[in-house]
Amino acid sequence: MPGIDECLLEVMQLPGARGAALVDWTSGLALGIAGESPGGDYETAAAEAAELARLAAEHRAFAPDDDITDPPVEDVIISNRDSYHVLCFVQTSFDSSVFLHLWLARVEGNLALARIRLGEMTGRLVLG
């Protein structure tokens, strides 16, 4: 059964994965990290990604019509010239505010595949 580190190592097996982190978006704390950190400092990267995740999770404009899940958002995707960032929210049966941040090289990475696999892997992390 995977723990946080095993889950992050599995995420790093995705083609083009440069770095991964499990981050709490209320506090900005990285609960686990693997690979490189975007910008070179994992703490700054976690705090910055947490701000973005919190905005996405809190604003009504991004929620589905039947806003019953917490958080209402599944993931946030950012692209730039050389990479993708996928922030995948972890749905838990307990109260939490956690997402998985994957930093993906744009040339080798497959965004659609990464998005689906992140959903599966975060599900296995907390639900088994």
Binding site: M1, P2, G3, I4, E6, C7, L22, D24, T26, S27, G28, L29, L31, D41, E43, T44, A47, E48, A50, E51, R54, E58, R60, D67, D70, P72, V90, T92, S93, F94, D95, S96, S97, V98, R124, L125, V126, L127, G128
Partner: protein, 269 residues
């Protein structure tokens, strides 16, 4: 249409590591730093809770202000209360109970690690708060119940200081952190998030922020973040009688109440 929203929270802080190194002992508790250096195993008892160390690393933290692992896992039905109680009776400490439940297939390893780290950092935030009495350390032998994940003292102190910064930047007045909370008489309720509404729903003039956290099964620090944001937006106030402010006429004029809140915040800086 003008949308009224709550004050946007400030950027999450990142502590300057050089600045921390320059400080004499770089942390919040010289005793804890020393225990880490000597790779001590035992229990540090401070005014607001305890830290459990194994070979100089923190494996468990408890504070009356922070909901424990059991509260987090039972509040929303991840585990039923009986299942938790049974495991808690068999193990010496909550992390040990969590490991038993993982072994029995009642909980995933990932869920346990996630809740364990959240509760550890949460309780440690209160345990490491400035205290008026010195801490005591009780050495214990090895062979205590297994650790889920150990955290270094340096990482824990660093995160605790970062969390203090975060609350301070949201709203510098700690008056609402531990007192009973009351809804303020607001003319127009600002746009609240679902998580803030859950907090506000439990505000009744009696419950304190830690009690609200326990009722929600949410880490106390996470609750404090929303409580400070609600206080900053003028939605919440401390419920206990404030010290009588001489010669200040009672008013509900929004401009004057805003000025008074600003004054209180400035005074607490």
């Amino acid at each position: 249409m003008t949308a009224v929203t709550t004050t946007p929270p400030p950027r999450l802080p990142v502590r300057d590591k050089a600045e921390a190194r320059d400080r004499a002992w770089g942390g919040v508790s010289p005793m804890l730093t020393r225990l880490a250096a000597e790779r001590a195993t035992g229990v540090l008892v401070r005014e607001r809770g305890t830290l459990h160390l194994a070979e100089g690393r923190v494996v468990h933290a408890e504070s009356p202000a922070a909901p424990g692992l059991g509260a987090l896992l039972t509040a929303h039905g991840t585990l039923d209360a009986d299942t938790w109680r049974q495991a808690a009776d068999e193990a010496t400490e909550p992390p040990g109970a969590g490991l038993l439940l993982v072994a029995r297939g009642r909980l995933t390893r990932g869920a346990l690690e996630l809740c364990h780290l959240e509760t550890l950092y949460d309780a440690a935030y209160f345990v490491l708060a400035p205290s008026s009495t010195p801490g005591r350390f009780r050495y214990t032998g090895p062979g205590r119940s297994g650790a889920v994940r150990a955290v270094t003292v340096a990482a824990l102190e660093h995160e605790t200081l970062r969390r203090r910064d975060l609350l301070h930047r949201i709203w510098p007045d700690p008056a609402t952190d531990e007192a009973p909370l009351l809804r303020a008489d607001t003319v127009a309720l600002p746009g609240l998030t679902a998580r803030q509404r859950a907090v506000l729903h439990l505000v009744d003039g009696v419950r304190t922020a830690p009690e609200i956290a326990r009722a929600m099964g949410r880490p106390a620090f996470h609750t404090l973040v929303d409580v400070r944001r609600l206080a900053a937006a003028g939605v919440l106030v401390r419920g206990a009688p404030q010290p009588a402010a001489p010669a200040w006429p009672e008013t509900t004029d929004p401009d004057i109440t805003l000025l008074k809140r600003l004054r209180d915040a400035l005074e607490s800086l």
